[in-house]
Amino acid sequence: MRKLIPLAALGCVLGQPALAAEWTHKEIADALHSIMEADRTVYTKLIVNRLQNQEKVIKASEHWKDDKALVLPAQMFRYGSEAVAEKGAKFSYSLLSLWPVNKQNNAKTPVEKEGLEAVLKGDPYYKTETLGGKKYFTAIYPDKAVAKACITCHNDHKDSPRKDFKMGDVMGGVVVRLPIQ
C-alpha cells in the first residue's frame, strides 16, 4: 500500500498541465519506474529473500491465501498496478517477459516484443505506439535478477520455459505507458 502513495502523488503530477509541460514523457516514466524498481527490490530482498531463503521462516507462494504464505514479488507488483488502475490513474504498468511463467505476461504488442528484446542489453527502451486507436508513450525497463530468490524460484517453476537464469540476468521488463494527448 505504501508504494501507492508516491505513485498516486505522481499521478496527480501527471494530471497537472503546467507541470506536465515541464516534464517530458520520458522523465515522468523514468520517475515512476524508479519508485517501482526501488519498492520491488526492497520487497524481494527484505521480505522474500530474507524470510524465505535466508531465515527460512515462511515461503512465498502464488496461492498465498491457501498456503498462508508471502505474496510473490510479481504478484505484489501486479496488485499494486491493479489498485492504481482501479483508482482511474491515467498511466498503466506491468511486468512482462520473453520467458513468462504466466503466459499472460508474454509480449503482446509489436512494441512490447521489440522492447523486451532490446532491454536484454541492460538499457531502457522508449517508443510511441497506438493501441485501440489511442496513442501512448511506452517505456520498457530491464527487470534483473537482484536476489537469489528470483532465480531459484523461476528456474524451478514447472511452468517456466527457461531454466538457466543466473544472478544479474535480465529476466524481463517493466512496461510503463503514458497516454499522449
Binding site: 498503466s92 506491468s94 504488442t109 493501441l131 514447472k158
Partner: protein, 467 residues
C-alpha cells in the same frame, strides 16, 4: 365541407397523440404500470425485482455506466471474495486493447445481458458456451493435454469457471491429487455464536428466567409464548424481551414497544446473517424495499399451500422457538417442492441427518439442506475476529456448483468425488442418491503437467523443490 373534415381528423390525431404521450409519461414513472416497457423477461436471478426498473437502470435512466454501477452495487463484494480470475482491473491496461476488441470483459453486460431469456444459460450467461476460445485459442501449444478438446467444454465440464476457480486451480488439483489434503473430517465445523457474543462482551451469557421477563406488561405474552421462550437460545444467553421488542425510533425519541419486530431488529445482533439473507433469492425483494418474497411469486416449484407465506427470519426461525434443526430441513420443505428437494429424504445424506438428530450420529455428521445451501463458513467480523458464521445467502455457493466444493463437500469427500458428483446433473436432481456417473479428468491432467515440469527440471539440471 371537405376541408373541414380534414381539419377534424388532424385535431383528432393530435388529441390521440397527446393522450398517448401523457399515458406513457405517467406509466413510465408509476411502479406497477411499467411492465409495458419491459423489452423481455428478466433472468431467474432478477425476476423478483424486475418491476423496479431503477434498481438496474438508475434514477433517472443512467445508460451503460449506470448499469455497470448497478451490477457492482450488488455483486462487487462477492467477486472480490471469490478471488475473481478475470477482474476488470486486469483488462483496463491499454495492452489489452486487442483482447477487448474480441470480448469487452470490462462490462458485466458483455456476458450477462438482461431481458433475453431465450439465450440465457445457467448463471445468467448470454454468450455461447465457446466464449473462452475468443481469448484462449491456442492453449494446446502450452498445454498438450488440451489438444482436441471441444471449444464448448472449458467452462461446462467441471474444469474451469470464468470468475471463481478457488476449487479448480492447478496447484489445488495437484495437492488433492497427491492426497495431501484428503484428510476430511467427516463432520462440518461447529457453530459458536454465544461464545463469540460473550467473548466480545456483547452479552454476559447469564440466562434470564420467565420471572425476569421484562415485557410482560407491554406485550401480554400468552402462557405458550412464555413457555417456548424459556427454552430459546435467547433466554439461555440472557437476551430479554426488550432486546427485540423495544426499538429506538431514532432522533433521540423514547424507545417504543413493538409486537412484531422485523429483520432490521434482528440485525442489531445478527447483521451478517441479515445481510446474507437480503442478498439471496429469499430476501432480495426486502432489500429493494419491495414486499417480501412469497412462494406464489416463485419460478421454482413450491408447495401450493405455502403460496402466500412471506419470507422473513421467522419463516425458518419461529419467533419463540428457534430450533435450528427445523430451520435446516423441515422449514425448507414447507415451501420447496422441486424434484431435487423432494428426493432429499431418500438420500444417504438425509439418513446421516436423521441419525444425528436422533442423537446417534456425531455432531456435524448429518447433511441437511442447510449444510449445503447455508453452510457454516469462517467469517472475518468487522471487529477483525474470526468466527463461524451460517451463510444466510443460499445463492452464495449455488452457481456454478463447484463453489460448493470448498465450503461444503470437502468436509467429508475427496476433491475427485466432489467434482464428479457435481458434474453429474442427473445426480444433483436425485439429490445425490447414487454414485457419480460422470468423471472429471482435471486432477489427472494436472498431475501429468506436474510430471512434465519435473522432467524438464531434471533435464536442465536445476535443483528441484527448494525448501
Amino acid at each position: 365541407m371537405k376541408r373541414f373534415a380534414a381539419y377534424r381528423i388532424w385535431a383528432l390525431w393530435l388529441a390521440a397523440s397527446a393522450l398517448l404521450a401523457a399515458w406513457f409519461a405517467w406509466a413510465v414513472q408509476t411502479p406497477g404500470e411499467q411492465s409495458v416497457f419491459m423489452p423481455g423477461q428478466t433472468t431467474h436471478a432478477h425476476h423478483q425485482i424486475e418491476m423496479k426498473c431503477a434498481t438496474c437502470h438508475g434514477e433517472p435512466f443512467k445508460g451503460a455506466e449506470g448499469i455497470q454501477q448497478a451490477c457492482l452495487s450488488c455483486h462487487a463484494a462477492e467477486l472480490k471474495a471469490m478471488d475473481d480470475s478475470h477482474p476488470v482491473s486486469k483488462f483496463t491496461d491499454p495492452r489489452n486493447a486487442g483482447t477487448l476488441a474480441k470480448l469487452d470483459a470490462r462490462q458485466c453486460v458483455t456476458c450477462h445481458t438482461e431481458h433475453k431469456r431465450e439465450i440465457t444459460h445457467p448463471a445468467g450467461v448470454t454468450l455461447p458456451d465457446d466464449f473462452c476460445i475468443r481469448c484462449h485459442a491456442g492453449v494446446e501449444k502450452e498445454r498438450p493435454s488440451h489438444k482436441g478438446m471441444a471449444f464448448t467444454s472449458c467452462a461446462t465440464s467441471g474444469c474451469h469457471n470464468f470468475h471463481d476457480n478457488r476449487a479448480l486451480y492447478e496447484d489445488f488439483l495437484i495437492r488433492h491429487g497427491h492426497g495431501d489434503a484428503a484428510k476430511s473430517a467427516g463432520v462440518v465445523r461447529e457453530r459458536g455464536l454465544k461464545e463469540f457474543m460473550v467473548y466480545m462482551d456483547y452479552l454476559d451469557g447469564e440466562p434470564v428466567t420467565a420471572a425476569e421477563m421484562d415485557g410482560r406488561v407491554e406485550l401480554q405474552p400468552t402462557p405458550a409464548v412464555v413457555k417456548n421462550w424459556e427454552h430459546t437460545a435467547h433466554a439461555k444467553a440472557g437476551v430479554n424481551c426488550s432486546a427485540c421488542h423495544q426499538v429506538n425510533p431514532g432522533k433521540g425519541g423514547e424507545p417504543v414497544w413493538v409486537k412484531r419486530p422485523d429483520h432490521q431488529v434482528c440485525a442489531a445482533c445478527h447483521k451478517p446473517e441479515v445481510d446474507g439473507f437480503l442478498s439471496g433469492l429469499h430476501g432480495m425483494r426486502l432489500k429493494q424495499g419491495l414486499s417480501p418474497m412469497q412462494p406464489g411469486l416463485a419460478e421454482l416449484p413450491m408447495k401450493p399451500d405455502a403460496a402466500h407465506k412471506s419470507l422473513s427470519c421467522t419463516s425458518c426461525h419461529g419467533a419463540h422457538t428457534f430450533d435450528t434443526r427445523r430451520a435446516a430441513v423441515e422449514a425448507c420443505l414447507s415451501c420447496h417442492d422441486d424434484g431435487h428437494a423432494r428426493a432429499y429424504k431418500a438420500s444417504p445424506h438425509f439418513a446421516l441427518w436423521h441419525e444425528e438428530v436422533q442423537g446417534r450420529g456425531p455432531k456435524g455428521s448429518g447433511v441437511s439442506c442447510a449444510t449445503c445451501h447455508m453452510p457454516r463458513i469462517e467469517y472475518l467480523t468487522p471487529e477483525d475476529e474470526t468466527r463461524t458464521l451460517v451463510q444466510h445467502n443460499q445463492n452464495d455457493n449455488l452457481r456454478p456448483n463447484e463453489k460448493m466444493i470448498r465450503s461444503v463437500c470437502l468436509s467429508c469427500h475427496t476433491l475427485q468425488f466432489s467434482l464428479d458428483a457435481l458434474a453429474d446433473g442427473a445426480l444433483v436432481t436425485r439429490n445425490f442418491m447414487g454414485l457419480p456417473k460422470h468423471h472429471v479428468d482435471s486432477i489427472r491432467m494436472a498431475l501429468e503437467a506436474e510430471k512434465r515440469g519435473q522432467a524438464r527440471n531434471a533435464a536442465s539440471g536445476t535443483a528441484g523443490d527448494e525448501e
